[in-house]
């Protein structure tokens, strides 16, 4: 009785991991290109930029918020970095870019934390104006930069692991540590779980909310630098159009509820992997783009629906 319950609990808890493993197993059997180093590296490289944003999004979602403007910020930071790299020099350009990301995040945070604007609206507004600024700044033209140093870094690797993947993994580890072992991190959980109760316990919820948006902005800035290094180019019109929603879906597919108060970086990493592996598999299997899109939508619906349904029945 309890045994079957335990087993069921295990499956419920680890549904996504099991799904990931099954998917990988299936792909390994049907397609010998799947389990190759280069394919797996490709999967990781692609997720490294928006994965970085996903980590910050995880923090925000734990705090009960999310950000629709991350993709626009990402685009703004990328074009800014590319345009100013030559005049500023690499390190200052990186710093200023990240600072711009942080500034956008601060505005969002101020609106949400101090003025009590729902994040959906605040970031919907900033999504529009930030992209407007990016487009205005570049006059809508794609920007490129021939700087070899950043290009080599963006496409180079260390000990066989691509630099971008390393940066991303570092970000995962930092996020996990921040969430688990720092006071600010734990306060984010408390505020996400219940803002009122956290405040009664003397936690400064406004500070936490401000912080998560600044972190998001910084992450978008870093991701902007990363993509610029990899592609040596950026486009205010095209970059990051789906990034925010992809990041949110990855977090949710990983099993973190949008209602806040729980979640972890590792879970989001798994969510990212599920989505990336799925994409990769569908492409390797030669599924057409329209059907891929259909499957992608259905997968999000099904995973989330099962997850929510299970978590509601878990109390039994």
């Amino acid at each position: 009785m309890t045994r079957t319950k335990e087993i069921r609990g295990f499956f419920t808890k680890n549904m996504v991991v099991i799904l990931l493993l099954l998917m990988m197993l299936f792909m390994t059997i049907v397609n010998r290109n799947f389990l190759t180093l280069s394919n797996l590296t490709n999967i990781f490289i692609e997720m490294s930029t928006y994965g970085t944003i996903t980590m910050a999004m995880t923090i925000a979602i734990i705090c009960g918020e999310f950000d629709l403007s991350a993709g626009a910020t990402y685009a703004l930071c990328s074009v800014f970095f590319l345009k100013n790299l030559d005049t500023m020099g690499i390190i200052p350009a990186i710093l200023v870019t990240v600072l711009i990301g942080a500034a956008v995040g601060f505005v969002n945070g101020f609106l949400v934390a101090k003025l009590d604007i729902p994040a959906f609206v605040a970031t919907l507004g900033s999504m529009t104006y930030v992209r407007g600024i990016a487009l205005f700044y570049t006059d809508g033209q794609p920007v490129s930069n021939a700087n070899q140093a950043i290009y080599q870094w963006g496409n180079g690797s260390f000990l066989g692991i691509p630099n971008l993947v390393l940066t991303f993994l570092l970000f995962v580890v930092l996020t996990e540590c921040f969430l688990k072992f720092t006071k600010s991190g734990r306060e984010i959980y408390a505020v996400g779980g219940s803002r009122k109760i956290a405040e009664l316990a003397g936690i400064n919820a406004q500070k936490s909310k401000l912080l998560i948006f600044v972190i998001l902005g910084i992450a978008a800035g870093i991701a902007g630098v990363m993509i610029s290094c990899r592609m040596a180019s950026g486009s205010a019109a095209l970059l990051g159009l789906n990034t925010s929603m992809s990041a949110i879906s990855a977090v949710v597919v990983g099993g973190t509820s949008l209602s806040g108060g729980s979640g972890s970086a590792v879970r989001s990493l798994i969510g990212l992997l599920v989505i990336s592996v799925l994409f990769n598999a569908l492409t390797l299997l030669g599924i057409g783009a329209y059907y891929q899109q259909l499957i992608r939508g259905l997968v999000v619906i099904i995973i989330v629906a099962i997850d929510v349904y299970m978590s509601l029945n878990k109390k039994d």
């Binding site: 490709n42 794609p142 490129s144 180019s233 095209l238 299997l285 030669g286 057409g288 783009a289």
Partner: protein, 316 residues
């Protein structure tokens, strides 16, 4: 036909690195070629007839064609192409999302040794010389054809409004430049306003309505950068009862455009046939794989469509 994005189906799963392995497990006697098509946008209407034409050619020539949707994301395109190379394809057709982001893709393609063709949009000038073959329209020339028409219509000068596509795309830049260069020859022609409708019919209609409000019958001519947007412009003009007073020129040969030229509402258009573009693209790719000589730039036929010759064109 919803199969636009669909390709050979299950056979892809058995794809292997060496072409020889393929022959064993299929009943076909000749070796099947694997061609990979990395689209910038698979879901834009323009892509649909292009894909269909390519598939037809592929079927006729026993080619296994795999298409993927880059969703306008240059990084995604890079990764898709890397994956394709990992899988071991015989040739890659690359339709870049934007010019600037092509640098790392072309660098990679040049390095990996897989033959490739660039389709629809040019690559960044800095890597132009590495590209073995480009298939595409000369957008500037196309814009020039429309410009000539305008020049002809507005012999005594007049006022022009422009409805533009997504800013920063090669098409938008070329269409505008070609057109503006031409009408600059007559300094009595004035451009009153330019707004971007982002290739969207409904947005174009709104912009046209607002043009009508602002300038009324001061407008003598509308230049629509593409045919899809023209549908919205035509609707706005006919609603306002101005179809006779305000004339249009546009680029592209949507069936609707041909009908309107036939009935004399639309002055004329520069032709752009996505089917021809697709078919030429894969044809050139095929030739490149077979080791045949191809020109550096295979220009897609572009002519002026007028009521006299409209029957020579196939609408899409």
């Amino acid at each position: 036909g919803g199969e636009t994005g669909q390709t050979g189906g299950g056979t892809d799963a058995q794809k292997t690195d060496e072409g020889s392995a393929q022959a064993q497990d299929t009943q076909k006697d000749t070796e099947q070629l694997n061609i990979f098509f990395a689209t910038a946008f698979m879901t834009v209407p323009y892509a649909a007839p292009m894909n269909t034409a390519m598939e037809e050619y592929a079927k006729e020539n026993n080619i296994n064609l795999q298409m993927v949707d880059g969703e306008g994301d240059s990084q995604k395109q890079l990764d898709q192409i890397k994956n394709a190379v990992t899988q071991g394809v015989d040739g890659i057709i690359y339709w870049p999302a934007d010019a600037a982001s092509t640098i790392p893709v072309v660098n990679y393609l040049a390095e990996c040794g897989v033959p490739y063709v660039v389709l629809n949009s040019k690559v960044d000038a800095s890597v132009q010389d590495k590209v073995p073959a480009y298939v595409g329209l000369d957008y500037e020339m196309a814009g020039g054809i429309s410009g000539d028409l305008a020049l002809d219509y507005l012999k005594d000068g007049g006022n022009v409004v422009v409805v533009e596509g997504v800013m920063g795309t090669e098409a938008q830049i070329g269409y505008l430049k070609g057109f503006e260069d031409k009408i600059a020859q007559n300094d009595k022609i004035k451009v009153l306003a330019k707004q971007s409708a982002e290739w969207d019919t409904a947005k174009a209609m709104k912009i046209m309505e607002d043009y009508i409000t602002t300038f009324g019958e001061e407008i003598d001519l509308v230049y629509s950068e593409d045919d899809g947007m023209y549908q919205g412009i035509a609707a706005a003009l006919s609603d306002a009862g101005l179809s006779d007073k305000i004339k249009c020129v546009c680029n592209g040969q949507l069936q609707f455009v041909l009908d309107q030229i036939q009935s004399g509402v639309l002055l004329g258009a520069s032709s752009q046939d996505p089917s021809v573009e697709g078919r030429t693209g894969i044809e050139v790719m095929h030739k490149v794989i077979m080791g045949e000589e191809v020109p550096e730039w295979t220009k897609i036929d572009c002519r002026l469509i007028t009521p006299d010759n409209v029957n020579e064109f196939n609408g899409w």
